[in-house]
Symmetry: C2
Subunit: 215 residues, 2 copies
């Protein structure tokens, strides 16, 4: 019984780690599509989202089965309940990568962002890729010390988000209202991506320590 | 045992309905603060969010306890798992009302939106208030026919969102880049609010019918 429960919880964890891997691919590809105005890569990100959604439902079904058949308690029960919440957050991170890719498609063949902002968006993309990699490691290892590193990347995303805000509002902004809105929304997608990673990391801490999570 | 389980599930449902009531107050007050540039009302919305977050954690704890002690199956188990997901969505709707209120506070004493857009934002606020009222009714009654009405209000929010986009991008827009970004973000907060209501309604249909939900 105990062994069966552990195997099933491992499967949930494997699904969650696999979700971080797919979401990592999605955000890297979405960033590359954004920086290189690559329509076919953007389409790949959009088409690939189905696999992330399927894993989300798979996690929920596995958790349902564990709860029904194994009557888990304490850490195990927290893992089951948090599994569902973490899958929701990871699925949403996949959606945000899709939002970025759709913006590339919407503006194609025009470049989705002004050339001089590519570097900043490149940094956002790199921070987002690192944050989701780290999230996968935190889930796999349940190493709560690593969860703090996620906050560092999230702070970096927040800083870059403010930097882009400043750019579009500066008196030297020469790209008009539509481009300003595009940049703001794209920047926000990356910033929200980081917030969800923080939520997932906090959930891992909650499973391990039983400490109440702040949302 | 059966009676205890039913009582506990009723308590989860009551919490969820109470969340819709608080979120309904929050979005109505946030809209009024936005239309009337009312700082103190905006502060009330921001301060009131803690109660919604507390209910979210309360729902999760109740669901944990039910899963551990009652070993629910079928519809009951779906209700337990979906309870957690619905609470997440409702909590996020509360956050979106807070985002609107914070925008009012950020721009105060300047009006947060141009006067000529007040009517459209008033319509968005009205649709958002109706959608969350209806969501509460769907949760309380588990009447899946009503879930379709939620989609109608959500379509209305999407339409108004597009209308505001068109306004800020028109050649007659005379309020500059910052106001355009403010309007776009505020409009997006209402549009996302509607999306979450649709997610909650789909969850109720899933509980009742067992049909797979699309995210």
């Amino acid at each position: 019984m105990r062994e069966a429960l552990e195997n099933q919880l491992d499967e949930v964890n494997s699904d969650l780690v696999e979700m971080t891997r797919l979401v990592g691919h999605a955000i890297s590809a979405a960033t590359q599509a954004l920086l290189e105005d690559d329509l076919s890569l953007a389409e790949q990100v959009i088409d690939g989202d189905g696999a992330i959604n399927t894993l989300n439902m798979d996690v929920e079904e596995r958790c349902l089965r564990i709860a029904a058949l194994q009557a888990p308690v304490a850490t195990d029960l927290r893992a089951v309940m948090s599994g569902i919440r973490m899958a929701t957050s990871l699925e949403r991170m996949g959606d945000l990568a899709v939002h970025i890719a759709k913006q590339v498609r919407l503006r194609y063949p025009n470049p989705p962002i002004p050339v001089e902002l590519r570097e900043t968006f490149g940094e956002m993309g790199a921070a987002a890729s690192r944050i989701v990699d780290e999230t996968g490691t935190v889930i796999a290892s349940r190493n709560t010390d690593l969860a703090d590193k996620i906050k560092v990347y999230d702070d970096e995303l927040d800083r870059l988000h403010r930097e882009l805000f400043t750019a579009v509002l500066s008196s030297t902004w020469g790209h008009g209202v539509e481009a300003a809105i595009d940049v703001t929304l794209l920047s926000r997608f990356y910033e929200r991506f980081g917030d969800h990673a923080v939520t997932v990391a906090r959930r891992v801490v909650h499973i391990v320590t039983g400490e109440p999570y702040s949302k």
